[in-house]
Amino acid sequence: MVFDEVKKIIINVMGLCEDEVLLKSHLYDELDADSLDISQIVLALDNKYNIDIENDQIVKFKTVEDIVRYVEGLLR
């Protein structure tokens, strides 16, 4: 499941606990992410799924769900 993978990557990149990362979590307001976190998360996803998330898309990610839905769309 894409959410489980995204969650795992976010936990590794940001040093968070498992129960802190929910599907609805806001990346910036709740998880305190910044551009360095997002770059790492995106690269990890690119490598995991052999996809290429474009720069103009990255800035549109606001929640964990945004990332999950976008990756699911690419994999369809």
Binding site: V13, M14, G15, L36, S39, Q40, L43, D46, N47
Partner: protein, 410 residues
């Protein structure tokens, strides 16, 4: 008018203690911080020894994110800076952060990160290189991350003069306060580069000692010296405008009275044989404070344990001080903690200040065999009680950099 500049805080992470108190107590005892390298497999390495920082747990001092994002040289530097900042009492008062500066030195930045990411690149291609490669490895990130830690929004600089960087950072901070560019400056150096790439580079440059006896590997001024021992660590000083320090009743350790820096313009790695550039740096630092030669009552030498440095530095000291050179106790901290590269000058400046405060100079440990060319008083093996009026710290770096700073007892 130039302002007076004083030292109001100290911080250190070293191979013989991860704070100033532990470091200085062990330095006075003559503790050797050199041992077999533990950070990588030394089976294929000609060099077996280094002076590593022990039991350093960054998570005890830094947030999870800082630990993940910062190279070891930055982690160690921030921890030393925190100690210095708190020692100066700056965490307890409001100061104008636009007048708080940071000037830190280092030699090779985040080389551990560069090395790891190069391996990732070779193994998995360009997509395996972390986005953190650049921010973790830039040498100026040390200054940047310390500025973030304390909200320091004033002058900001990163000094890259190889093994003289820590001393240059202190000197530049001194000048900035003298000329009113800042009221308080966090300054010093940090380095952590004990990895196979750096050891191989220095080994093949014939700069390191191959000895496996830890008491006879870093032996500055001894006739049997053959090279330095790579060390890691950080030293941080809080320099402050004298009046600013008085107004807030700060503890004052010492005054900075001189800073001299020159270049040999001679060779990429070797010092000038006559020590001419080093002589001029020392002379400038002394003249800068308008003091007499005989006011200098202690020198913390660069004293690397390389054939050339120790001979040239000795020559330079004699050329500056004449016969009086024989009356000055000169010790090399590198005999205990190896060569901390861009952090060495900062830790050794800290030694000068503790020596002034404690009226005690530490010994140059492991010393056995006298060298005709190195015939000054290197405080062999045992430290001694010694009153100091002014202390000078020397640092010299690849590229021909020569730097000296002078501290005065208040």
């Amino acid at each position: 008018m130039k302002r007076r500049v004083v030292v109001t805080g100290l911080g250190a992470v070293t191979p013989i203690g991860n704070n100033v108190e532990d470091f200085w107590r062990n330095a006075k005892r003559g503790t050797c911080g050199i041992d077999f390298i533990s950070s990588f497999d030394i089976k294929d390495s000609k060099v077996k020894l280094a002076a590593e920082v022990k039991d350093f747990k960054p998570e005890d001092f830094l947030s999870k994110k800082q630990v993940l994002r910062l190279d070891r040289f930055c982690q160690i530097g921030i921890v030393a800076a925190k100690e210095a900042y708190e020692d100066a009492g700056l965490n307890c008062i409001d100061i104008d952060k636009n007048r708080l500066g940071v000037i830190m030195g280092n030699g090779v930045g985040g080389i551990n990160t560069v090395t790891q990411e190069m391996l990732n690149l070779q193994k998995g291609g360009m997509n395996m290189v972390s986005p953190l490669l650049i921010p973790k490895s830039l040498p100026n990130i040390l200054t940047g991350s310390i500025s973030i830690e304390f909200g320091a929004k004033g002058i900001s600089n990163a000094i890259i003069t190889a093994c003289a960087a820590g001393t240059n950072a202190i000197g530049e901070a001194y000048k900035a306060i003298q000329y009113q560019d800042a009221d308080v400056v966090i300054c010093g150096g940090s380095e952590a580069c004990i990895n196979p790439l750096m050891i191989a580079g220095f080994t093949n440059l014939n700069a390191l000692s191959f000895k496996s006896d830890k008491m006879r590997a870093s032996i500055p001024f001894d006739r049997e010296r053959e090279g330095f021992v790579l060390g890691e660590g950080a030293g941080v000083l809080i320099l402050e405008d004298y009046k600013h320090a008085l107004d807030r009743n700060a503890k004052i350790y010492a005054e900075v009275t001189g800073y001299g820096y020159t270049c040999d313009a001679y060779h990429l790695t070797a010092p000038h044989p006559s020590g001419e550039g080093a002589k001029r740096a020392m002379k400038l630092a002394i003249d800068n404070g308008s003091i007499n030669l005989k006011d200098i009552s202690y020198i913390n030498a660069h004293g690397t344990s390389t054939l050339l440095n120790d001979r040239c530095e000795t020559e330079a000291i004699k050329n500056v001080f004449g016969d009086y050179a024989y009356s000055i106790p000169i010790s090399s901290t590198k005999s205990m903690i190896g060569h901390l590269q861009g952090a060495s000058g900062a830790v050794e400046a800290l030694v000068c200040i503790k020596s002034i405060e404690d009226e005690y100079v530490h010994g140059t440990i492991g010393y056995k065999v006298k060298d005709e060319d190195c015939d000054l008083d290197y405080v062999p093996n045992e430290g001694r009680v010694h009153k100091i009026k002014y202390a000078m710290s020397n640092s010299f770096g690849f590229g021909g950099h020569n730097t000296s700073v002078v501290f005065k007892k208040m």
